[in-house]
């Protein structure tokens, strides 16, 4: 809220510099900034319009001659319709820094020739001065504004820009802010006056009020004034409203706005003669009811919305906005001032369903005090009588079905200490609470009875009182200690640990981690996930995404990684090895989606050469598999790879990875159609591991196996097999023999003299026994058995 310091100082003495005051308020919970921007008016001063003449060459323009003080006069071109001789105006000289009235951009005033007349200055509008968006006419100052005085000095008011938290509706007012200032600076609050002379007819004879839906309207106060004269507000009122960011309209509306800003209670004035049967009915709207609101929009109402109606029609949307038909106009002679308390939940529901948030609704939705309604209606009536004339009806209509009780809280001294960590002396407690308007009585056995002031609807429990004390004394004054209690026992978090280990292993292997948005595009998804799968288990969708192509919770990391790869290719990077460790989301009927921890990566480009340049061999399936092997070896797992077919991957270049016969992931080359869809014209390899599938296989600590004392015998065996025989099968067959420790492939050869359709695989085979040194004969017999088995099972021939 914009709080002009001048206005604030009507209710409390301001004994701190503005910056310091803002700082103290901020620490106590009301975030405040001292407004300085837009008021850099060093070449703008108060001037007197001496005469206004027509522009010789333009009908719409006029020539204004202004007195700048000390005998200085200047004639400038002025386009504003409201400029008139005798006015006091804000005049900008050449070089003044203003806001361009049309573009809204900052500009520096330069002399110009406008339709043949030289103009070296300007009479400013509010918009040009950065005061508001008003650009319809010039800013007209008070008659008593001293000619020649710098505008900054004349209007020189400092504005506190406050950010009110959702619980403190009471701070959406100048008085509420004054109460905080008073408590923080040990000053008194001066409440505004609300007494006036009632000399009219009794209210009951002029109008009646009935609350039909008392669950939505807790109190309805109304005062009536007859014989008023509607017109513009006086300068002081207009200036206060403008300074607070509210646009002056007429004296009646301005007073309701003024009291709302002053006290925080939204008010509404009805033209009493337009209220059917002079009867106010507070009721739910009918389902087919319509109302043209003050903003000239016709609104369709429904039975969830509360309206202020007369005997036949809705007149206002309760607590949100008035209606056009019953608004106060120049012709209005009698008014009814409404000051009511509405159900905050209902106000918020209605205002959000209409997308209509007003100064009234943001106050009501925070929950206003029911006491305030009466305070405010009296204050408004008093001010109106002074400005509009007329006679106030005797008495105030007050329909108040369930009178709120004064809230008292029993607070123990011990509780305050338990929460704040310090034992506050009772004198300090009482003094602090009293300064905030609380009543505070010390009763036996170390308790306080605290009476909550009517405007504090947010305070209800002892810990609220603890906060009041803490924030006014200052959180920085509270002690600071370390936790002393027992450290809770540690629960294992194997999934977190596994993810950490996999991330570290991939980073150690040289991959870069990326993190992508969890929401992706359906069209892209269908490129990398089988559309059939997408149709029988559609991804979880966001109803209100930030953008249309980020509305599906990703069921795979593939889209994200391809996006990252494509992005970096656009920046000219062709070699990449990236991974992401994140969740994918699988829909579950009637329940939260299943969030699965996944790790996936993409490998593309070329290996680094000796110079670190990506000019080596192309990165391929085997590099990608190397990363998977590296990670799984780190985890102490033994996995198997099997050729497989997988959507989005190239058949014949795809392997399923399994641990203990369970699929844990997949790797392979992305199908050229997939990479093509991302405009990637190079081979890209994918690996994808489900950490959830991996988790059950992660064992405890690895056990030591003694280093074998007996020497091993190493021999090479080369066999010729059909080209489509997987090398892994040959290796597995050799390693199945009891004396063989390992069989390591070290050469693959095709071409002469190997017959077409065949390949030669060469293995280095290590034979070793646990308990003795192998003899030549033992090794030879084992070798023969191996060769025999390979011949029988894989049609392998020993290569001579």
């Amino acid at each position: 809220m914009r709080i002009p310091l001048k206005w604030l100082s009507e209710y409390v003495d301001i004994t701190l510099p503005a910056g310091e005051l803002a700082h103290r308020l901020t620490l106590a919970g009301l975030e405040s900034l001292v407004e300085t921007s837009g008021h850099n008016w060093d070449k703008v001063s108060v001037a007197h319009v001496v005469e206004v003449n027509p522009h010789p060459n333009a009908d719409r323009l006029r020539l204004a001659t202004v007195d700048l003080g000390e005998g200085e006069r200047m004639t400038v071109v002025c386009g504003a319709p409201n400029v008139a001789a005798g006015q006091k105006v804000a005049f900008a000289r050449q070089g003044a820094k203003l806001i361009d009235g049309h573009s809204g951009q900052p500009m520096e005033l330069m002399p110009a020739v406008i339709r043949g007349v030289e103009s070296a200055g300007m009479v400013c509008s509010e918009r040009e001065l950065g005061l508001s968006d008003q650009h319809e006419g010039i800013l007209v100052l008070s008659e008593d504004a001293p000619i020649g005085m710098l505008l900054a000095q004349y209007m020189g008011d400092v504005i506190l820009e406050t950010e009110v938290t959702a619980n403190r509706g009471d701070l959406l007012s100048v008085l509420g802010t004054a109460r905080e200032v008073a408590a923080l600076t040990n000053n008194e609050v001066h409440e505004p006056l609300d007494t006036y002379w009632e000399d009219g007819t009794a209210v009951s004879e002029l109008a009646s009020v009935a609350i039909v839906d008392s669950d939505l309207c807790f109190r309805y106060c109304a005062s009536l004034i007859e014989g008023i004269k509607v017109g513009p507000s006086p300068q002081w009122l207009q200036e206060k409203l403008s300074a607070s960011g509210s646009r002056p309209i007429n004296n009646v509306v301005d007073v309701t706005n003024y009291v709302m800003l002053e006290l925080g209670q939204p008010l509404h004035a009805f033209d009493l003669n337009l209220v059917g049967d002079r009867k106010i009915v507070v009721r739910r709207a009918h389902s087919d009811e319509k109302l043209v609101t003050l903003d000239s929009v016709e609104r369709s109402l429904n039975a969830d919305m509360l309206v202020i109606a007369d005997s036949s029609k809705a007149m206002a949307l309760a607590g949100i906005i008035g209606g056009a038909p019953t608004q106060v106009t120049q012709k209005t002679s009698s008014i009814l001032i409404e000051s009511a308390t509405f159900n905050p939940v209902n106000i918020r529901r209605t205002s959000s369903s209409l997308g209509l948030r007003t100064e009234a609704s943001i106050r009501f939705e925070k929950g206003l005090s029911q006491e305030l309604a009466m305070v405010a209606v009296k204050r408004a009536t008093k001010l109106l009588l002074g400005l509009t004339g007329g006679r106030a009806a005797k008495g105030i209509i007050d329909v108040y079905p369930n009178k709120a009780r004064v809230h008292r809280i029993m607070v123990s001294r011990e509780r305050l200490q338990r929460v704040l960590g310090v034992d506050l002396p009772p004198t300090k407690v009482r003094q602090t609470l009293t300064a905030l308007g609380y009543g505070c009585r010390w009763v036996s056995s170390a308790h306080y009875v605290v009476r909550v002031p009517y405007w504090r609807t947010d305070v209800s429990i002892p810990d609220d009182i603890a906060e009041e004390l803490g924030r006014i004394i200052g959180y920085d004054q509270l002690p600071s200690t370390s936790l002393t209690g027992p450290i809770p026992s540690i629960q294992p978090q194997p999934d977190r640990e596994l993810r950490g280990m996999v991330q570290d292993a991939l980073v150690a292997a040289g991959l870069q981690e990326v993190i992508n948005y969890s929401l992706v595009d359906m069209e892209k998804l269908s490129k990398v996930v089988d559309p059939e799968e997408l149709s029988w288990r559609p991804p979880v969708r966001v109803a209100n995404p930030m953008s249309k192509n980020q509305d599906q919770l990703r069921p795979t990391l593939r889209v994200s990684l391809l996006d990252s790869l494509a992005t970096n290719r656009r920046y000219g990077r062709e070699t990449m090895a990236i991974f992401e460790a994140g969740r994918v989301y699988l829909a579950q009927e009637g329940d939260l989606p299943h969030e699965v921890e996944m790790v996936a990566g993409l490998v593309s480009g070329r290996r680094l050469d000796r110079w670190g340049q990506p000019h080596g061999e192309p990165l391929s399936f085997e590099d990608t598999k190397g990363y998977v092997e590296h990670v799984l070896a780190r985890l102490g797992l033994q996995e198997t790879y099997e050729a497989a077919e997988e959507y989005a991957l190239v058949p014949g270049r795809t392997a399923v990875v399994s641990v203990a016969s369970e699929r844990i992931g997949v790797l392979g080359q992305l199908h050229p159609e997939v990479t093509g869809a991302w405009d990637i014209g190079q081979e890209v390899y994918l690996f994808e591991i489900s950490l959830e599938a991996l988790l059950p296989h992660i064992g405890g600590v690895r056990l030591y196996r003694p280093i074998l004392r007996f020497p091993s015998v190493i021999e090479d065996i080369a066999v010729v097999v059909s080209e489509d025989t997987p090398a892994g099968k040959v290796k597995a067959a050799i390693e199945s023999f009891p004396l063989v420790r390992t069989a390591t492939l070290f050469d693959i050869y095709t071409g002469q003299p190997i017959p077409p359709g065949k390949k030669s695989l060469a293995y280095s085979v290590s034979y070793q026994a646990d308990d003795h040194t192998l003899t030549d004969g033992e090794v030879e017999r084992e070798r023969n058995r191996i060769i025999e088995r390979l011949r029988k099972e894989l049609s392998a021939e020993l290569r001579q």
Binding site: D463, Y475, S482, P488, R496, V514, N568, Y585, L592
Partner: protein, 346 residues
């Protein structure tokens, strides 16, 4: 046999040794002059056939010669090796400024790094990291945190809702903060509790240099007998010093979150201007790091704790914001654009 022959032999040997420049020739020389079949060995072997007087004389001379030749050999060998080393050193000079053979360098994403650092600070203080679901029920994200439907505090968290309808409402959402885990943790554990909960959160929010619709938070919760606001201050102060440096000052101010009472937020003094006011801290001298407060007694009661016996504090911070401050990153959107030129700087 005479000592004269020995003298000739010595001269010969020395001459040829002086001409030798490599280890192989040196070995040939040794075989030739000192080997089993060398003339000298032959002489020594033939000594027994000589008359006593001559044997003594020749024997002494031959043995002297043998020693002399062995010494000369050792010296020559030593000289040659030194020379070889010298040659190697001279010829083997390399340009030490050439780059090493490259090993590809992987890195964790800066958000992962900062998140790990934050969690580690609290782990040292006895907190344990746990996680929770990113897709949440309205109940945990809002209602259980004292933010019922149509509560004005809902404005603090603009929400992305899951397209799932039940009883005319959308009860499922992308969590807007990690705070639902306060309730989730307390529902399954009894005090004492000290946990931190890192994870992704989502807001229905337009992006700019300081706002992202996806963000990472770390939530904290401690509940036990005797925990006060003073412990909250001490714990967070310790954290700030660990993460931002011993010289950092912290400031607590009152703030409002429906699930804590009293509520607070913590700022650190600006490390760019040391509190003088600059663009990083928007002139305030302080930079807000996290929201915090004492767990509202209603929330403790709702999970079945006795709020008269137990108190606790909670806090939550944005990891990207912390990372931006630590690394002087001016635009939050850089994190999830995944430009390698950005990621490879960390």
């Amino acid at each position: 046999m005479s000592t004269g022959e020995l003298q000739t032999l010595e001269a010969q040997a020395n001459d040829s040794l002086a001409a030798i420049a490599d280890e192989t020739s040196l070995e040939d020389w040794r075989v030739n002059y000192l080997g089993r079949r060398s003339r000298l060995t032959e002489i020594l072997r033939g000594l027994s056939a000589l008359p006593l007087e001559e044997r003594k004389q020749v024997g002494a001379a031959a043995n002297r010669l043998r020693e002399a030749l062995e010494t000369a050999l050792a010296e020559r060998r030593d000289m040659l090796r030194k020379r070889d080393v010298q040659t190697f050193i001279q010829q083997g000079r390399i340009d030490v400024t050439l780059p090493g053979r490259p090993i590809p360098m992987g890195r964790l994403h800066p958000v992962t790094q900062t998140q790990r650092d934050i969690v580690a600070c609290f782990e040292k203080m006895g907190f344990q990291a746990v996680e929770g679901p990113e897709v949440e029920w309205d109940y945990y994200n809002f209602e259980a945190l004292r933010i019922p439907e149509h509560h004005p505090a809902r404005d603090m968290w603009d929400t992305m809702w899951i397209d799932y309808h039940r009883d005319g409402r959308m009860p499922m959402l992308l969590r807007t903060h990690t705070s639902p885990n306060q309730v989730r943790v307390m529902e399954r554990q009894q005090p004492p509790i000290r946990v931190v909960v890192p994870g992704k959160c989502y807001r229905y929010e337009a992006t700019d240099a300081t706002h992202e619709w996806m963000l990472t938070q770390v939530e904290g919760l401690a509940v036990d007998e005797g925990i006060s606001m003073a412990d909250l201050k001490g714990t967070l102060y310790e954290f700030a010093q660990q993460l931002f440096g011993q010289e950092r000052r912290v400031r607590f101010r009152c703030d409002y979150f429906p699930f804590v009472e009293p509520g607070a937020d913590m700022s650190i003094d600006c490390f760019v201007c040391n509190g003088e006011g600059c663009s990083t801290c928007k002139g305030a001298g302080w930079i807000e790091i996290m929201g915090a407060g004492m767990v509202h007694p209603e929330i403790l009661a709702n999970v079945g704790y006795d709020p008269e016996r137990y108190t606790g504090f909670a806090f939550g911070m944005g990891v990207e914001r912390v990372a931006m401050l630590r690394h002087d990153i001016e635009d939050i959107r850089l994190f999830y654009q995944n430009d390698l030129r950005f990621l490879e700087q960390f």
